[in-house]
Subunit: 259 residues, 2 copies
Amino acid sequence: MAEQPDYYVKSAEKTLAVLLAFDAAHPLLTVTQVAEAISVSRAAARRFLLTLVDLGYLEADGNAFRQTPRVLDIGASYLSGLTLPQVARPHLQALAAELSETTALCVLDDQDILYVERVSAPRMHSMNVSIGNRLPAWATSMGRVLVAELPAAAREEFLSNARLTHYTAKTVASIDELRAELDTVRAQGWSLVAQELDEGLRGLAVPVYRGAQLLGALNVSVQPGRIGSTSITDEMVPLMRRVAQDIADDFGGRTAAGN
Amino acid sequence: MAEQPDYYVKSAEKTLAVLLAFDAAHPLLTVTQVAEAISVSRAAARRFLLTLVDLGYLEADGNAFRQTPRVLDIGASYLSGLTLPQVARPHLQALAAELSETTALCVLDDQDILYVERVSAPRMHSMNVSIGNRLPAWATSMGRVLVAELPAAAREEFLSNARLTHYTAKTVASIDELRAELDTVRAQGWSLVAQELDEGLRGLAVPVYRGAQLLGALNVSVQPGRIGSTSITDEMVPLMRRVAQDIADDFGGRTAAGN
DNA sequence: GATCGTTGTGCGCATAGCGTACAGTTGTAC
DNA sequence: GTACAACTGTACGCTATGCGCACAACGATC
């Protein structure tokens, strides 16, 4: 870990750490569990937990704690601002309706893609990702687009930190293989990833550019039957590029007007 | 304000306050603006802001700050746990598909309803609410269901704190009128609110009960043509009650199994 | 140049938050 | 039953943490 500058407020870090200690696998935590999870004394963990209960972000259940819906407040302002997800939503809805497929918009955050907006096709159940969820960037279509478009140095840095996991039989096997795939993605301007993260998961993604600035990646799920057919390159990719452009234009216009 | 207990960690409160200072109307804030917004010294605000930048929740833009997508992490664990939204999602999707209407699930938080899950019908644009957003409970169908089902004392407390705003010509005018409406809602077990919050907004809601425990409220948008017709009471309400029951059953089963 | 409203930064001080320590509770083993 | 282990909540003195004053530098507007 790097040196902490002298302006650093340690309690802020702890506050967030306490809130993040709760996840899908650990929705209910006791004082001791939190203390261990974030490496602070039990007394400290208790102080923070009780404070967060007071503030309404946690609730006590016996001598364990769980999050309340109020934690959504913290991210809500991001989703409602003049930000990318807000701008993209109607476009994703229209695209989802036209293709009858689930659509999503992600940004890159370190080694992960982060879902900032998602519109699911009614019939599909697919993967149960919600806004704010993370998936490993290297194993997803959106992630590969986002990494492929990175400057060379950043791309290599990403690759050197990447930890490949062999999710399915089709998962890319090595860093070199992944690097080659990224080159292809960059050259063609889209990425198709089929069943590399999960057997039932196939995604097609294109970058969303506003001028030279990479805003995010746009994704649609893809029917198995379409894989290998020309409809992907001939129909879906052009359509998605048009939507990506629309989002970028909207984003620029509104953010310029806003504030 | 009440006395703060001696276990209280003020920095935790400030950390959250800083993050919440950013909202849709103020996505970009300077040190001074934040200091004023949350009533702390400029130096303190600066320390917290810089710390949050270090942690990756904020980013600097000139000498202003804005939230990064990472703020979504904090709520993501709630959405992904064995919690209500996660359980309800497939049911909302199915209902949205069947009715071709936007569906949503809310819980009550103080005077507001809080969206914990939402599935929009493809063609609809409707209101741009996202997960985590709040609306005044008294003016919405879900809010009225949730308040109507409250114990009498809590209901009166809600009414005494309610601050009615005259949003449209159809908005309920007085607390007494609202109380009468709540009695009707409780008696019939559903609420229809048309154009009281916004001209284009009509919602129908039913409670989601697991045994005696009120989990939340289920909502669908309603076409103008259907208002007043028998299809609401004869078709939509029964269908929604069935879905609400399915969600409640699922929720009980999974949470009992989990952990 | 002068005034006002910003901005970032340094530093001594008070207190907020620390962790040790102790006491009460629960569950299991024997 | 006692003994033990692993929890729990609470108290209190100490120190490091975070406080806010004060200063300096910058950019407008007049």
